[in-house]
Symmetry: C2
Subunit: 214 residues, 2 copies
């Protein structure tokens, strides 16, 4: 077997250098580049840079929220597992309500998914929070409904649901009308927990490389 690169710092450096060399980053302001680079790093696809919908204020707003102790609200355990805890600036709480015992009953009562019902349990923490959705389109749809009903705005909506039913549609709706919230989303079917976690990690750590990636 051929030798392979084993030094974590060198792996990170070469990874980020490859992204900078191959991805079209020039349309993004400097303060967004760490998030874009981390998103690409998380999925191995430089071309997603061309499909990101992102508001210029999302990095500043999300980073300030984290520095101020805001919680991170995640739609599933995988997103939470990808967040580099020791990079969070204020020991921020990482919240996943999907497996709350109330959720199956709420989902059934509302004739909806557990992921959507779990979002209802965020209601009293939404204001100023960082929301990271990496799995369920219905979670993002439900979040937008809550905002339409008058729920307080998050500091950042990181919208990366994935798949064939509702993913493209929910993210298009977010990009069309983010309800006044700073946001980032990958248009189309692609997305996933790793991207949602990477977006949170970019808000928390920029391109600093502490953490469990390699």
């Amino acid at each position: 077997m051929r030798p392979y690169l084993r030094d974590p710092a060198a792996i990170y450096a070469e990874s980020f250098a490859t992204v900078r060399r191959e991805a079209r980053l020039d349309r993004f302001p400097e303060e967004l580049k760490p998030m874009v680079i981390r998103l690409i790093h998380a999925c191995g696809m430089v071309e997603i840079a061309d499909r990101l919908a992102i508001s210029p204020d999302v990095a500043a707003s999300g980073a300030a929220a984290l520095a101020g102790g805001a919680p991170v609200l995640c739609d599933c355990e995988m997103v939470a597992a990808g967040i580099i805890r020791r990079a969070l600036p204020a020991g921020n709480e990482v919240v996943v309500t999907l497996n709350d015992p109330a959720v199956p009953g709420l989902a059934q009562a509302g004739a909806t998914t557990r992921s959507a019902a779990a979002v209802d349990l965020w209601a009293d923490r939404l204001g100023g929070a960082v929301v990271a959705i990496g799995n369920a389109p219905t979670a993002l749809f439900r979040l937008l409904e809550l905002l339409d009903e008058g729920a307080p705005r998050p500091a950042a909506i990181l919208g990366f649901p994935v798949g064939f039913v509702g993913a493209a549609e929910s993210k298009a709706e977010l990009a069309r009308d983010p309800r006044g919230a700073p946001f980032a989303a990958l248009k189309g079917r692609r997305g996933g927990s790793a991207m949602a976690s990477a977006a949170v990690n970019a808000l928390a750590a920029g391109l600093r490389t502490e953490g469990p990636v390699h």
Copy 2:
């Protein structure tokens, strides 16, 4: 906002139907299709079907191992978080050694990554296990080294490391010489925890849709 599909069973059905309609599945034997469909479902990209390297025996070998109580060895917490625990047929243990307190010291002593060092801690459980790698190329490289050194063979190697340094190379090496182990891998840079989890879920549940996806 337009109405959206909220019924979990309908979402699954439409998702899997879309994959069957759009992906080129005809080159796969029937017993592999559930894994291929779940992999596509996890990432939203039908075209990955054309880039899968997969041994025909991986489904039977992996499913039999799980039925017999084999552990699932994961390279990171995100993979473990994506595994549908209640679908595992024998209450199988899901093992992540990455955050074992011994790992940082082992990594430093071996001048390698924590992910590679964590694989050394699998050694006495490798024989007959299901291995799911969804993040670190160095974990897959290290696994192949251990097999070259005589470690007992896993029942299935699910190889989905992602990224720009070593991901394509480690999966190419697995596909070139799987050391006698049944395997599945996505060639190239793409991969990720969601795919690795999806492959485990396919071994455990086929296309049955219990679980935390929606």
